[in-house]
Amino acid sequence: MGEPGTQQIIRMFERISLAINSEKGRLSELDGAIGDADHGITMARGFSAVTKRLSGSNCETLSPSEILRIAASTFLDAVGASTGPLYATAFTDAAQALSGKDRLAVQEQADLIAAFSSGIKRRGKGERGDKTMLDAWVPAAEAALRARARDATAVEMWQDILSAAETGCESTKSMVAARGRALRLGERSLGHIDPGAASAVVIIAAMKDTFADS
């Protein structure tokens, strides 16, 4: 736990990028069922751009908050689409939440998840139940805040977060999309997992590996 926050955040992005890259095909396939089949490609492009940028020389000297800001603008420029602004806002809000912090204890890790969730919600103007990535992020954030309230350890907290996100993701199967392109499918979006929720689970699992195993 002694690792400085900056390195943790950089490593978090590396792990996310690796995980998304290996799940790229599955995510695009999920998207093909209800969208335009490029979700995996888009996410992979965004996170590789971020890790590439963060592997630059001077990043280790920056604060976690500054790293998140760089990630936000890099992700946004690389992606566009709807995931660009959504995750860029998530990272920006997290940067704000972690401003002035150098180390990320359980408290800050919970803040990080909560800020991701609220940033996405703010930008997408969405709700839980719309069959979007929020169906994974909102329960994840709630689990984080609950865990923090009862002084859980990092390992416990991340287990809760991941399982809440997985349950939330699974629940999108029985939802009719209310946002994004799948909205136009009407009832045909039923029975399919939302690809945005699925990639959120991949990201959260990579975050768990970063914070709960160190």
Partner: protein, 696 residues
């Protein structure tokens, strides 16, 4: 009874011989008495005793023949698939949710609004179910009002009681209006709840509820033995939000507690459990327990947006009789993982046969070097090819400006979107058109960076107008860019194009997506800017063009992304997707391939429903290929479009036929019609010079 001329019977033979066949069997029946009997019965419409005479056999034998013929599959009785489908759905919904009854309205071509169809079905059902002496509790809403309009029953001594208090809100289907209309329809006694549905405090409610007058009214409500109500969705744009009946702050609170629907003014979560919230104690009206105690509870509701809400009402056991439409009914069942095979009930095509599009081949062939570089390489070629029209802004290929575009004193026009739609969007940049275009990745909005570059380049001091298709991604990125531009002192106004009439119902017009009709909307916006109108006039004119542009597309085959080189979706060998968008998203309805004219007719019917052209009106027509459909077929389509317009007495002012807004290699086409008026005609004729459109 028996017509001698068409009958194969020969009655002149002797009857004395007890042979089975009295008349020679016509050759076409190939010696099969079963087929003959069936022919006479089903095709000629003879009675069984006629047939016994004709064939010279006993009636009992005829009867056996007919029964065996069905067992042996010589005869298939088929109901019209749509009708059968809704019967099966109704049966399945009834079984799955333990309803007392269920009525499913067949899907139709969408010519009649859903609310009317539900109203007609609900009215018919209610007219049959209402009995003399009943007390009917009636909630409020558009559906309930539509039912009242279609109800007429000759019953006596019916009491109709309003199920909730009244409202100050001003719309045609308030609780008071709904109860009154139903009371009229059944010639019953009307009991209003003469109190507001929502009061300011719990104390106020308690005081009002103790008023003898209100007490009496609630006494009647308690006695209700039948209830009629709609089910409200909490989705954005639903009546709950727009009617002003509830306070929106309060709705937000219920939403945050996972409420998904409203029944008789009470909020339910996805499982049908009541959600507690700030309005509960301030509401005057039937409570959910009282509702549940009523014997017959008729709910009438339809529409995809209502699926979670209807599910909630069903799961919570608030409904004993459900009236809905086929599309919604099947959505409800698939949400419950119940899948009755209703789409093609009488066909025995196996699943394998259906799922055999291009799958057999693994990759679609494309001209590629590096799939990750398609957009950059395309732009390199494109910028060279069209250097007379376009130039990169500050060396960026992702932001291009018109050579003769921006000028001081003119409103700047910025358009943009994902790649893969070529010649969208760069083809609509040039003099009299857009000043700059932002280019995104394949089917992905450009990020705010290049959009901001475009806004700066297009700005001539009079503000900048953003015009782009209504997609979540584009909206977010363009909005972020607009905010950044405003910070730099560039005034930005935005018009979202929403011409795709298949993408959402008329009630949710602003939720529709923008497709090939962009062509007309960009043209009009460009002309308005070029003529020196101010920013607000340009915006208003562009909105006007958008309001009068109607598009619908059909896909025959899926497109494939350069990155995957696989079809984005499976489509059966005989299937087409109606309502296809321009991103390879699946359409809204899938049906069997039909002749070109029939497909065009289906689209034109839908367009006419919305456009409502009068004789003598003029229009501009765009027949657009999605990429894979050749000009030959586009002209076949145009031919029919023209015939349909001519039959309505509508004149075609101008037409464009070709690749104007594509979806990579998708096979399919769309028809866009702009309903012209004098202003639009003038702006359409305004000279312009772009890669994809040129008017001298």
């Amino acid at each position: 009874m028996v017509d001698q001329n068409t009958s194969p019977r020969k009655t002149t033979g002797t009857k004395g011989d007890a042979v089975e066949v009295a008349a020679p069997m016509p050759l076409r029946f190939g010696d099969d008495p079963y087929v003959w009997a069936c022919w006479l019965y089903y095709e000629d419409g003879r009675t069984q005793s006629d047939i016994a005479q004709i064939m010279g056999i006993s009636r009992a034998t005829v009867n056996t023949y007919l029964a065996d013929a069905r067992d042996r599959g010589i005869v298939n009785i088929s109901l019209e698939p749509e009708r059968l489908g809704s019967l099966l759905l109704a049966k399945e919904l009834k079984r799955h949710f333990g309803l007392n009854d269920c009525l499913v309205v067949p899907s139709d071509d969408g010519a009649r609004p859903l609310i009317d169809r539900l109203g007609a079905a609900g009215g018919q059902a209610l007219s049959r179910m209402i009995r003399s002496g009943d007390t009917l509790a009636v909630a409020w809403g558009r559906t309930v009002m539509a039912i009242a309009e279609h109800t007429s029953a000759s019953v006596q001594d019916v009491t109709v009681v309003q199920a909730t208090g009244g409202t100050r809100a001003n719309f045609a289907y308030t609780p008071e209006h709904c109860a009154a209309a139903l009371a009229r329809a059944v010639k019953g006694r009307l009991v209003n709840i003469t109190a507001p549905a929502l009061v300011n405090s719990r104390q106020a409610r308690d005081i009002i509820m103790q008023e003898p007058l209100v007490e009496d009214q609630f006494e009647v409500l308690q006695q209700a033995n039948k209830a009629l109500f709609g089910i409200a969705s909490l989705r954005p744009n639903s009546t709950i939000h727009t009617s002003g009946f509830f306070e929106s702050v309060a709705i937000q609170e219920y939403l945050s507690k996972n409420a998904v629907g409203v029944v008789a003014g009470r909020f339910l979560d996805g499982q049908g459990t009541p959600v507690k919230g700030p309005l509960d104690e301030r509401t005057i009206g039937i409570d959910l327990d009282t509702l549940k105690a009523i014997d017959m509870r008729i709910a009438v509701a339809g529409g995809y947006d209502k699926v979670p809400a209807i599910l909630a009402a069903l799961r919570g056991g608030y409904v004993t009789i459900l009236i809905t439409d086929a599309a919604t009914g099947s959505a409800i069942l698939s949400a419950e993982d119940v899948r009755p095979n209703v789409t093609r009930p009488l066909r025995t095509r196996s699943q394998d046969e259906v799922a055999q599009p291009l799958r057999t081949r693994n990759f679609v062939k494309k001209f590629l070097n590096d799939a990750d570089e398609v957009v950059e390489e395309m732009l390199e070629g494109l910028i060279e090819a069209h250097s007379s029209h376009l130039s990169p802004i500050n060396g960026s290929q992702r932001a291009l400006m018109a050579r003769n575009g921006p000028r001081p004193g003119k409103v700047g026009l910025v358009i943009g979107g994902g790649s893969g739609h070529e010649p969208c969007f760069f083809g609509y940049v040039g003099q009299g058109l857009a000043d700059a275009v932002a280019v995104g990745n394949v089917f992905s909005s450009p990020p705010p960076g290049p959009i901001l570059e475009c806004a700066r380049a297009a700005s001539g001091g009079e503000g900048v107008l953003f015009v782009y298709g209504n997609y979540a991604g584009d909206v977010m990125n363009f909005e972020m860019a607009a905010e950044m531009a405003q910070v730099e002192g560039i005034k930005v106004r935005t018009v979202l194009t929403t011409d795709d009439i298949a993408s959402s119902s008329l009630e949710d017009r602003e939720g529709r997506r923008g497709v090939a009709g962009n062509f007309f909307i960009f043209k009009i916006a460009g002309a308005a800017c070029d003529r020196g109108l101010n920013l607000y006039e340009c915006e208003a004119m562009t909105r006007h063009a958008n309001d009068r542009t109607f598009t619908m597309g059909v896909a025959l085959e899926s497109c494939s992304l350069p990155q995957t080189r696989r079809p984005s979706f499976d489509i059966g060998p005989d299937d087409i997707e109606i309502g296809m968008g321009i991103h390879g998203e699946r359409g809204v309805i899938r049906q069997e391939l039909a002749p070109a004219d029939a497909i065009v007719d289906r689209i034109m019917d839908q367009i006419f429903v919305e456009m409502k052209p009068a004789k003598g009106d003029s229009v501009a027509v765009l027949v657009n290929s999605f990429g894979g459909t050749p000009l030959m077929e586009l002209y076949i389509i145009y031919r029919r479009v023209r015939q349909r317009l001519a039959a309505r007495g509508v004149r075609i002012e101008a037409n464009w036929i070709g690749h104007y807004c594509t979806s990579l290699d998708m096979v399919g086409a769309s028809i866009s019609i702009m309903h012209l008026d004098n202003q639009l005609t003038e702006l359409l004729r305004h000279p312009c010079d772009g890669v994809a459109i040129n008017i001298a």
